[in-house]
Symmetry: C2
Subunit: 312 residues, 2 copies
C-alpha cells in the first residue's frame, strides 16, 4: 500500500511518501498552520507534495494535526472516545487538493477524562493508534504531553498535561528560573523528581516499606514546589546549574503523579518520543516501578495512519 501523509502542525509541515509501511520520500518546511492564512493551504501542499501527486495518481492523501483545527485548512470535528481506526476513518474530512484530487483530514479526538471534564487532541490520536498497544497506557511527551489509555485497540480516554509549555514559562519567563545558570548540570533532574514526590499524594513507598507511616498524604502543591526551587537556590541548597533540570524533573514528576492517579497504574507502558526526552521518562517511570518501552514518533505516525486508511 502506498500513501501520501502530511503531518501539518502549528509550526511545521512534514510530508511523507509511504510504501508498504516504509518512508520512501520526505519533505519538510516551517510553514506550519500558524504561519498561514485561510486559502494558503492548497498552494503550500501542492508546492511540497505536487510531484508525488503526479507520480502516484491513485495514492490516498491524508493530513494529520492542527491542519484540521479552526486555524487550519478545514475544521475536522473531534471524534468522540472511545475512538479506534474505524471510528477515525468514518470521521475523515475531505479537502480539494486541485486537479480533481481529494485529500482527507484526520480528525482529532475528544473525551471526557472524568465526569464533566473534557480533553482534546489533534495529531496524537494517529500516533497513539500506531503505538502498537492494544490494551495499556501510552505517553506522548512534548509541549503538551498526552497520556492515552488504550482498550481493544481503541483510544478509550486520555489526559493532556501542560508540562513542556510550563517548563518554558517557569525556566525562561519567571522569577523561579532567573537564578539558573548554564551549562546545566543534569543531576538536577533527579532532585526535581524527588521534589515531585512531595506532591505524589501518598506516603513514599520507601517509608512504608520501612514501616514508617507518613503522617498524611503528600500533596504540598505544585505551586509551592515551584517556589521551593527558587528558595533552594537562593539559600545555597541547590546549585544554580542544576535549577533548569530540577524544574524539568519537578514538572515531569508531577505530570506522572497526576497520570498515575487518573489511569490504572501499569507494570509496563509505551513512550512515543525520541531521545533524550524518552530516556528522561524511562528514568522517571522506573522510580515508580514502571517499565517503559520506547517507540519512535515517526514509526507510530506511519503505523497509525496505515491502520486508519486500511479501514477503506
Amino acid at each position: 500500500m502506498r500513501f501520501i501523509l502530511v503531518d501539518w502542525g502549528t509550526t511545521r509541515f512534514r510530508g511523507f511518501l509511504v510504501e508498504d509501511g516504509a518512508i520512501t520520500g520526505r519533505v519538510s518546511a516551517d510553514e506550519g498552520v500558524s504561519a498561514l492564512k485561510g486559502g494558503d493551504h492548497p498552494g503550500v501542499f501542492r508546492r511540497h507534495c505536487g510531484p508525488w501527486l503526479e507520480a502516484y495518481p491513485d495514492a490516498p492523501v491524508a493530513l494529520v494535526g492542527m491542519v484540521g483545527s479552526r486555524e487550519g485548512w478545514t475544521v475536522a470535528p473531534y471524534a468522540p472516545c472511545p475512538a479506534g481506526p474505524a471510528d477515525i476513518a468514518r470521521a475523515l474530512i475531505p479537502v480539494d487538493l486541485g486537479g480533481g484530487r481529494m485529500g482527507r483530514i484526520v480528525p482529532g479526538a475528544v473525551c471526557e477524562v472524568e465526569p464533566g471534564a473534557v480533553d482534546v487532541m489533534r495529531g496524537e490520536e494517529t500516533l497513539a493508534l500506531g503505538a502498537g498497544v492494544a490494551d495499556g497506557l501510552v505517553c506522548l511527551p512534548g509541549t503538551h504531553p498526552k497520556w492515552v489509555e488504550m482498550r481493544g485497540g481503541r483510544i478509550h480516554r486520555f489526559a493532556t498535561y501542560l508540562t513542556g509549555e510550563a517548563y518554558d514559562l517557569f525556566r525562561n519567563h519567571s522569577m523561579v528560573g532567573r537564578p539558573a545558570t548554564e551549562p546545566e548540570d543534569p543531576a538536577g533532574f533527579d532532585l526535581g523528581l524527588d521534589a515531585a514526590g512531595r506532591n505524589a499524594g501518598e506516603a513514599e513507598p520507601v517509608l512504608r516499606s520501612a514501616g514508617i507511616e507518613a503522617p498524611r498524604a503528600r500533596r504540598a502543591g505544585l505551586l509551592h514546589l515551584l517556589f521551593g526551587a527558587r528558595a533552594a537556590t537562593v539559600t545555597g541548597r541547590l546549585p544554580p546549574a542544576q535549577l533548569g533540570p530540577y524544574l524539568s524533573g519537578l514538572l515531569t514528576g508531577d505530570e506522572i503523579n497526576g497520570a498515575l492517579s487518573l489511569f490504572p497504574a501499569p507494570e509496563a507502558m509505551t513512550i512515543v518520543a525520541g531521545s533524550p526526552r524518552a530516556d528522561l521518562y524511562v528514568r522517571a517511570l522506573a522510580r515508580r516501578g514502571i517499565e517503559a518501552r520506547i517507540k519512535s514518533p515517526e514509526e507510530a505516525l506511519i503505523a497509525g495512519l496505515g491502520l486508519i486508511l486500511a479501514q477503506g
Copy 2:
C-alpha cells in the same frame, strides 16, 4: 511610641511615620530595590524621609522587605523559624542613614517546611507577626502568597505558593489563556475552584456525605487542569469571558489544596489582604468549611513592627 517605618520592596518604596500605632505621615514612590544600584539607598531614603529624621531625632527607623536582600541595601540574613518578635529583634541589621543616625533592617525568615524542604520570606514576617494571631493559620495573598503557621506568637513554619505569578504567566503568556476575552465574567472563578477540586487529594465531602465513595484520591494534577481550561474553552463548554477568572479560581483553589495538606486544617483563619483579593479567599475557604477573618496589610505591618521594636 513613635517610629519611622519603610516597607521597601522590589517595586515600591513606602514610608510611614507611626505614633502610638497610628499612621501620622506617609510617602510613596516607585523606587523599589530593583530600580536602584548599590549605594543609591541612603540618598533615596533621606530624600523621602529626611524631614521626619530631623523632626524626630529619637524615633527609631526600621526598614522591611527586599531592602534586606542581596539586591537591596545590605543583606539581613534570614532568621530561622520558629521566629517571634524577640528572635527577629535580635537579628536586626544596622545601616548608616548619615548624619550620625542609624536605621535597622528587619531580616526575613527561613524555615524547613517539611524535612529537607526550605522556604523563605522577606517582609511577610512582619505582617504575619502583626496579624493578631498567636496560634493558628495566617494567609498573605499576593504575587507569591505565604501561608504561615503561628504558635505561641511566633512564626512556627510557612509555605510559599507561586499563585499570583503563575496566574500572570498562564493568563497572559501561554496558549492556555489565549482564548480569554474581556470584560471578564467573574462567574468563572467558582468554576475554577470546582476544577481545583479534582486535585484536592480526597473524595469530595459531598460525595462522602451521600455515602458515595470516590474510587480513589482526586489528584488529576495541576498541569492537566490548566490544559483542561483551554480544552473546555475550545469545545464551547467554558465561555471565553470566564476563562481568566477560571484560571484565577483554579490556581487559588490548588494553592488551598496544598496548604490544607501541609498545615493542620483550621476552623477559622486570618487573611492579610485588601479587597477584592481577600474576598475571593474568603469565598474559596468557605467552600472548605473554613471561616476567614480579614486583616488589612497596613495594620498588620504597623502592628508587627511595633511588636519587634517593643523588644528594645
